[in-house]
Amino acid sequence: MLEDNNKIKVALAGNPNVGKTTLFNAITGSKQHVGNWPGVTVEKKSGFTKYKGYDIEIVDLPGTYSLTAYSMDEIVSRNFIIEEKPDMVIQIVDASNLERNLYLTTQLMELETKIILALNMCDLATERGDKIYLNKMEEMLATPIVKTVASQEKGINHLLDKVIEERNNDQHHGHEIGYGDEIEEKIFEIEKILANDTEITEKYPLRWMSIRLLEGDENIKDKVNKSSVASKINDVLDSIDQEEYEADIADKRYSTINIIFPQICTRANQVLTKSDMIDRVLTNKYLGIPIFLSLMWGAFELTFAFATPFMDMIEIAFTWLAGMVSTNLQPAWLASLVGDGIIAGVGSVLIFVPNIFILFFLLSLLEGSGYLARAAFIMDRLMYKIGMHGKSFIPMLMGFGCNVPAIMAARSIEDDRDRLITILVVPFVSCGARLPIYILFAGTFFGRQAGTVIFAMYVLGILVAVASAKLFRLTVIKGKPAPFIMELPPYRVPKLKSALIHMWDNGAMYIKKAGTIILLGVTIIWILASFPWGVEYGSESSYVGIIGHLFEPFLRPLGFDWRISVALVFGFVAKEIVVGSIGVLFGVGDNQEALSQSLLADPGITPLNSMSLMVFSLLYMPCVAAMSVIKKETGSWKWTIFAILYGVAVAWIMAFVVYQGGKLLGY
């Protein structure tokens, strides 16, 4: 009992970009847990803090403008408040943007939970010359309000004091909105019917549920349809003009705010804010797109150039480790498993950790600064034409670095189908790991044209991604991209701490997730390459060799012999293994120069073969890590397997066209 008495469970709610994450980080510090809400790919963050003898658990709800059922985020948020019944909800309110923020407040109040408002961004409001009358506001809204500046960690203790005070306060506040006689009558009528169902009465606030029904909330309708009062409710709902009610209810909320607002806040007359100034330039008709592209180019320059020394360090460490193992570990087969298999395999994937960390860091800076929304705004027209959403552009672009963070970045796309399409086409974007294959083959066979050939590979990847997006829109994922109804938040100086935390969370997720699957993958490949017992590693008589031969008839029309087939099988683990295993199979090991020579000397490999090989490598499944994040992000084996099969099919067809077409043309 006593233990229970000092536990407090608090939910953080608020619009996007109001400083929720910043406040959450300021309160919980490093004591955080990141995961997913059950059954959906919406991120769930929770954290703990001890304050004045209380254990406070904070759950960061997804940022939402409303609690209707527009997106998964909104459903997750309200279900949490209704079903898990936190002791109270803190709504973070952007003081410089009160009107729209209060709209969510009106909805939270209807959920009949205790609310504290954290009036954040007070520094901005003050700087701008806005005046907010706190006492008046507390009185009118009948909720406690605390001023905070999350980015400077100001007001946090005051907020926690309020949490404890409210916790020990049994009085229920809350000031609900009246919707006018006609609507109120209907609300009352529905409430009365709902009250007959004990299950609903126990679980949901009836007034809230009635309002949601009048607004035509599908999610709530489904719940009611499963209950004992379904038919009666539907009778009432059928008798009203749904569209009319929906508009009236929203209208009423805003007009209530319009009445309250002038009494609690006088806003300074804005001429031109700093943010507006920046926007004039960054979304300028002529300069907007070039500036966007140059910033993206800069991000890549940084990702690769700055990551290189760290990648080299990882490589040195793994080479050393593999060397240690192969000289010191007995018996030989174990040394080979650990050295050739696990360490080499894990190393080949961990080498991308610096890239991934930097990409996530930069992504977080872009998001925190408000530029990410502009990127979507600038690119939406183009993306819409190919059946995608403006928000898909950044994930696609990140794909050039590494498909794994790119697929994870697709999370920022709310609409499920838009996100699915993005996830499915990102693997065609040529990532950094595929470059060594092009460099080897284009460099060996195309001499001075090598640059053009490599460039063509990148273009082909983009074309296939675009064509696939179009194809999916016409077939498996029908429909149009979701509407672009998006806030363009004011520009702000991003917080280093937030960016570092974001980078760490996502980077760690990659290591954990990819790590386990990769370990499995490399072990399987090692077994296949080392057995039957006694064969030379990866040779013709090993299982891999046998599989290579098995696949050969299938890959023959593309111009690949068994050795290339084996290398491509290895490539499933990670593309960067392809070059290495070709080296082994041609008996020259790591030496690129020697490998080039023996490729040139080999009659089985012509410029046409190598072209076909590059096309195939570009398009078939990127790597186990990418597959595992596809599984994680889509939450579906069906789509994961679809992605693999589709990729292989497209790769086969394109390579076939290149090879057979080239032969017909006499190359």
Partner: protein
Amino acid sequence: MVTKGENMKMKAHSKMLLAFLLGCSYIIAGTIQSSTGIIRILSGKPITSGLPHIITEALYIPHDILSGLILILLGTVFIYGFMELCQGIEEGIAYVYVGTLLAMIFAGIYLLVTTGNILEAYLLKNEDFIGWTPLDDLRPEIYLGFVSLIAYAKWKKQFDVKNE
């Protein structure tokens, strides 16, 4: 009041001058950077002699098309601001402000790249970096970026939100 107005005007003039000078410097450096990049690619070998060599050596300009284009873009942003200010459009200052921000961002990017190279050269002792010194990485993005940094620091207050 009069003196204050005069003062404001003078500051606007000095910003115009800065925008013009920075704009021209970026465009000139960018043009040289891109065109030597084109020459290098067309001729298929590095530029080691002649006037282009002397100029690029003296100004620490690398031979690179893409980054040259970005310099030209930065210059254009400044010139855009300069032209609006000339026409008496007060909001033109936005271009000068964002121009300095972008200039600092790109300077930052190349400084970090240099940091990476320093790690390669002195910590990992990478063979590719034998004979390399940090000065080899000096380029217009960096030194022109410093000019922007100074301008930004000086005018930080005036770029702030204006109320009326």
